[in-house]
């Protein structure tokens, strides 16, 4: 059985598709709507009201294609969790993936076909009518130009679209605003293979990222984050040298990924490639790397010595040489190129240069493997999109169909050409910018209601199945519509199965197709290993970076700061903006939610005389936006950065009309390698306006470095620690007084253990390894989903009234006097103190201590004095200022059908009560009941709180402290372990393991 797979889960997954076939039949792939709370007539035996059923499917929120377990209760999906069998995410899931739930239940979904009337409004029409119109237009448009724009499609639906477009003589453009052209092109230049390889970060001992934000948005964040924490989290057991990989981040801006680096090299924008070449040069010259043939690039490297590039890059030659030597000596190093650098005008060359570095150091074939290639390159290049726009402009497109993409938001030229198109059809779940301008809008099914499949990378075939009765019975899957259009009688499910049947036949599988199919449904797909292929440097590699080493020229007037637009960690290119969970998720770096911002270096801000929240006008050759300043040390002084994703003019109540759209500043033309450039020089003018940033962080003047909260150890010191050491333990009392105090405490405990408290009990506790935690915030969204936490909206967020039980605290350190800037993060949640300050002050026992060590909050008893929150030193108690569940109320958090996502196991809190982390008490009790039914004790690992379950870097461990063999007990005894604010003698239940960094300062 695959790792991380335990019997319980396995059974419940199995349960799905045995009788689940029946369940699915009933669970309505048919268009017949069922108006019952439990939407099936004959209850399938595996569907027990009150117990969850898991459906294995695939996440479609980004091209990574993580495996999902959709947790359904009484036929409704209430939570998305990672599929432990998936080789991509191994049971982990990011915030965006979990928020897909709010895509299904979004209150602003398209529920019925809409057609543009003569008055120019969209009015509901019947499906027959809609199909009729569509059919007619297809007929008349034949030959006059038909185009189908989809999102990234690495599955059968993509093939159907190809087939269909071929049939009608049109073209298919798979549009991704952040396509990875540079990777493809860079690999072609370097190795002659236009593919995106597999990166073995987990096995690396030295990670060098040239802007690749592999922890937040690059390629497959969950997979890479898990791999990264395996390589980079401190583990003394791996021995002196292997204890912890070093991570160096090169890039103009400290992203979430950069924040986790041991060293941040803010190279001048566009010179990352030069740096890579210079390092390669050192490695070759000093024969530090593998014995590979560097013929094709010999004189290229000759032209790029450290001294030659130092000026342009902005780092002195010694530093470059040092990096090169470290990198080579580390043995299994890996260099990644991506993120913003891969969207510079010279992005492809940068990628190629980094490939050369990988090649000369001998990483290619080891940590970088071609063969299990990613499927992200199945997205069309930006150039193809630009060509389409040109044709639209020229009136060469009579019929345009859009599905799963929203170019109307990310590409203004597309909308300018829009009107020139004869007839525009959108298959849409939401009325986004594109759909709301269409002539015909067809309500599409959300991926969680669809049949489909995906190939995240070669060898991985992920299946996608409907996990519940469709929310809006009148919606239809685009695939079904296309088939109907083509006059086929069968559904898209049949089409999908036929493809799989064919594949099955080709593979000559031993098992029958039905078995294979059912297993695939159970396990979320078929997972095989694609063999790797060896590659050699291509001659083209030598021809990159011709000319003197220098930064590329960016659009805009020289002298202006370079603006880089980066994909928002929560909203990505804007597809997440309609989900309140993601809107309310503070950005991992800036901690800002609900609006976009522009990052400015403190020096620059001082020069311009702006402070946090001041609006500046950013003017690029292509557009202008007004943006509130967020001053941050994690950026080059000559660079400003803005996130994409906000500034929607449609896409429902949560997205519409929020701050500005970063894409407006960007060129609509394709660059040298057919990609889009996400960097441009902007003129910055200060305005009089000001706003309060909706930041979960307090006033920067007051926050400080948080030394008391986050402990950091230099690697050297961490390695000296022996079991039994307690570097962070502070003695409150003198040695000689300890026994007396202990005795007294023991007396107190005896006196307190009456009634329910008598006898042995577990002590639930948690351990959080800060050397693994990256601050990605997946746990935060998981907590929202599991515990029915209300989203409060921008206005209340500004007033610091968010309810997030779990918050990721981010502190800036260093920066002054030339010392390196470092961002440190920690999850902060209820510490479930043994001697909790919040409890005794409650006049009505609403806050009290359970026998098993939980710090309970009885919502029904709470009168809302808020004394507990004042007395909580960790400030992890949150108050219901309004009735967030009030239907139609100003602050309603779950407008129908969003309320369907509520977890039936957790109370929805009333106005005026205090709430806080419960250690997912419903899961604890669930596991205890289960154990009782199975007549056994609760085993370590039976209970996983939502945060721990989702954590891609496996930083959170939960269990019983009284059980010495439990993992949490062992971690609690780790020498790196410490309690936050231990001096208050709260006997906190959460043990933090100090963060470990390479280098001296801590």
């Amino acid at each position: 059985m695959s790792e991380g797979m335990n019997r319980r889960r396995f059974l419940s997954v199995l349960g799905v598709t045995g009788g689940g076939a029946a369940a699915l039949g009933a669970c309505g792939v048919g268009s017949e709507p069922a108006q019952k709370l439990i939407p099936y007539l004959i209850q399938p035996e595996d569907q027990v009201p009150g117990t969850a059923t898991l459906f294995a499917t695939t996440c479609r929120e980004c091209p990574a294609g993580c495996g999902l377990h959709a947790k359904t209760r009484e036929g409704r999906v209430i939570k998305l969790e990672g599929n432990r069998e998936s080789p991509i995410n191994h049971g982990r899931l990011c915030a965006r993936g979990q928020a897909a739930l709010e895509g299904v239940y979004n209150p602003d979904r398209v529920t019925t076909p809409l057609a543009r009337t003569a008055q120019g409004t969209l009015e509901p029409i019947s499906w027959d009518n809609a199909l009729q119109r569509l059919g007619d237009h297809v007929k008349e448009a034949r030959g006059k130009g038909i185009a189908f724009v989809t999102g990234h499609e690495a599955g059968v639906f993509g093939e159907l679209v190809d087939e269909w477009t071929r049939g009608v003589g049109g073209r298919h453009v798979a549009y991704e605003p952040f396509a990875f052209e540079a990777l493809r092109e860079g690999n072609r230049l370097a190795f002659g293979i236009p593919a995106v390889p597999w990166y073995g970060i987990a096995g690396a001992s030295y990670i060098l990222s040239f802007g690749a934000d592999f922890l937040d948005t690059w390629l497959s964040p969950v997979e890479y984050q898990r791999a990264f924490s395996r390589a980079h989290s401190f583990d003394a057991s791996r021995g002196e040298a292997e204890a912890m990989a070093k991570f160096v981040f090169v890039g103009p801006r400290m992203s979430l990924t950069g924040m986790n680096a041991d060293e941040w090299i803010p190279a001048a924008p566009g010179t990352e490639g030069l740096l890579a070449l210079a390092m390669a040069e050192v490695i070759v010259r000093e024969r530090l790397g593998a014995s590979v043939d560097v013929g094709p690039v010999r004189d290229l490297l000759g032209r790029h010595t450290p001294d030659a590039v130092a000026g342009a890059v902005g780092i002195d030659a010694e530093a470059i040489a040092r990096l090169a030597r470290e990198f080579a000596k580390a043995g299994r190093g890996i260099a990644l190129a991506g993120g913003i650098p891969a969207h510079y005008p010279n992005g492809a060359e940068i990628v190629a240069a980094v490939n050369i570095l990988n090649y000369v150091v001998g990483a290619v074939g080891k940590t970088v493997q071609f063969g299990p290639n990613s499927s992200v390159d199945m997205a069309s290049s930006f150039k193809e999109m630009v060509d389409l726009v040109a044709d639209m402009q020229a009136g060469k497109v009579a019929l345009l169909l859009v599905q799963g993409a929203n170019p109307g938001h990310s590409l203004s030229s597309f909308m300018q050409a829009w009107s020139k198109v004869g007839f525009k059809v959108c298959f849409a779940t939401m009325l986004d910018e594109t759909a709301s301008a269409a002539d015909l809008v067809l309500p599409d099914l959300h991926p969680l209601e669809q049949w489909n499949d995906a190939r995240p990378r070669a060898g991985v075939f992920a299946l996608q199945q409907p996990v519940m009765q469709r929310v809006w019975p009148d919606a239809r899957q685009a695939g079904d519509v296309l088939l109907a259009l083509a006059g086929k009688s069968d559904t898209f499910k049949d089409y999908l199965q036929s493809h799989w049947r064919a594949a099955h036949a080709r593979a000559g599988h031993a098992k029958s197709f039905d078995d294979v199919w059912n297993e695939a449904l159970q396990h979320g797909g078929v997972y095989t290993d694609a063999g790797s292929q060896s590659v050699r440097l291509a001659p083209t590699a030598g021809h990159i970076m011709a000319g003197a080493p220098a930064a590329p020229a960016f659009d805009g007037n020289t002298g202006d700061p370079v603006l880089v637009a980066f994909p928002s960690a929560a909203l990505y290119d804007g597809r997440g903006a309609d989900k309140p969970w993601l809107q309310e998720l503070p950005d991992p770096v800036s901690k800002i939610a609900w609006h976009a911002w522009v990052e400015v270096h403190p020096e620059t801000a001082h020069k311009w005389g702006v402070v946090d929240g001041d609006y500046v006008l950013l003017t690029s050759p292509f557009g202008a936006v007004r943006a509130p300043v967020s001053v941050t040390p994690g950026i080059r002084p000559d660079v400003v950065a803005v996130p994409t994703g906000q500034g929607h003019t449609a896409l429902g109540r949560y997205a519409k009309g929020r701050s500005f759209n970063a894409f407006d500043l960007l060129s609509g033309a394709a660059n040298g390698y057919g990609g889009r450039t996400f960097a441009v020089r902007v003129a910055v003018t200060r305005t009089r306006d000001h706003r309060f940033l909706a930041s979960s962080a307090g006033d920067p003047r007051d926050v400080g470095p948080g030394e008391e909260i986050i402990r950091v150890l230099p690697l050297a010191r961490a390695q000296q620690l022996k079991p039994g050491d307690h570097p962070f333990l502070q003695r409150e009392a003198p040695e000689y007084a300890e026994p007396a105090l202990e005795g007294w405490a023991e007396e107190q405990r005896k006196k307190a253990n009456l009634g329910d408290y008598a006898g042995p009990h577990p002590r639930w506790a948690m351990a959080i390894d800060l050397s693994s935690c990256t601050g990605c915030s997946a746990c935060v969204t998981a907590c929202y989903a599991e515990n029915n936490i209300a989203t409060v909206g921008e206005d209340l967020f500004v007033r610091h009234r968010q309810m997030s039980w779990m918050r990721i605290e981010r502190y800036w350190r260093g920066g002054e006097g030339g010392e390196p800037v470092r961002g440190v993060v920690t999850p902060m949640l209820c510490q479930h103190c043994e001697q909790a300050p919040c409890e005794p002050v409650c006049p009505v026992y609403a806050a009290y201590h359970t026998p098993d060590g939980l710090n309970a909050q009885v919502y029904n008893r709470c009168v809302g004095t808020r004394y507990c929150a004042n007395n909580c030193a960790y400030k992890v108690r949150y108050f219901n200022w309004y009735n967030f569940a009030e239907v139609g109320g100003e602050h309603e958090a779950w407008p129908a059908p969003l309320d369907w996502q509520l977890n039936p196991d957790v109370t929805v809190r009333e106005k005026g009560v205090m709430e806080k982390c419960t250690f997912c008490v419903q899961r604890i009790r669930g596991a205890q009941h289960k154990a009782r039914l199975e007549n056994r004790v609760v085993h370590d690992g039976d209970i996983t709180p939502a945060c721990a379950q989702s954590c891609p870097s496996e930083a959170i461990v939960f269990g019983d402290l009284h059980n010495e063999t439990s993992r949490v007990a062992q971690l609690a005894a780790d020498p790196r372990g410490y309690h936050v604010l231990q001096e208050l003698n709260t006997k906190s239940g959460i043990t933090y393991l100090a963060r470990v960094v390479h280098g001296e300062e801590a």
């Binding site: 107190q748 405990r749 006196k751 307190a752 009456l754 009634g755 329910d756 408290y757 043994e834 001697q835 909790a836 300050p837 409890e839 005794p840 409650c842 026992y845 806050a847 009290y848 201590h849 026998p851 006997k987």
Partner: protein, 181 residues
């Protein structure tokens, strides 16, 4: 109505015959009191707009029993405070902050407050009770509004027949006016 009201005796006691003297001067009233006592008069009533020690010395009455009310009330309050807080803690033991279930120090506050509360209330009770009691066996006696302003007064309960000598005695002591009531 013929139906007898049991409380009537308490709140509307039957009138008592007697002599009422009004004094403009304190020392005159004091002399009168002394004279009356020397004359063997009992249960006469002295009115004064304010408490004066001269009068008290002259009358020298027994100490008021009110203090017993206060004392008992205080003790009762203290013990009720202790009982309430301790009983209610052990009635349903709930752990908070790892503290002992029934911990005395914080409950001292409750005990103290209850002591004061009950002490004060029983004191009020005491004075009301005593004054009422006195009133009932004195009966309704004559009064003059000036007694609350600037005059002192003495009422001697005597049957109309024997009131002659009393009147002369009071006049002799310097009463501004003396009348039968």
């Amino acid at each position: 109505m013929s139906f007898p009201n049991p409380l009537a005796r308490v709140f509307r006691p039957p009138p008592t015959p007697g002599v009422l003297a009004v004094f403009g001067h304190l020392d005159a009233a004091v002399d009168a009191v002394i004279a009356l006592k020397r004359g063997g008069h009992q249960g006469f009533t002295v009115y004064s707009p304010l408490p004066r020690h001269e009068l008290e010395h002259a009358l020298d009455q027994p100490v008021s029993p009110v203090r017993m009310f206060t004392l008992i009330g205080g003790i009762a309050g203290c013990s009720i405070g202790a009982w309430v807080s301790l009983y209610m803690s052990y009635d349903w033991p709930v752990q908070v902050g790892g503290k002992t279930i029934g911990s005395i120090p914080p409950y001292v506050v409750i005990m103290f407050e209850m002591t004061v509360l009950f002490g004060a209330l029983t004191t009020l009770l005491g004075i009301g009770f005593n004054v009422l009691l006195a009133a009932t066996h004195r009966g309704t006696i004559a009064y003059d509004p000036r007694f609350s302003n600037d005059k002192f007064g003495i009422f001697v309960p005597v049957a109309a027949a024997q009131s002659g000598p009393v009147e002369t005695l009071l006049k002799g002591c310097g009463a501004d006016e003396v009348r039968r009531a």
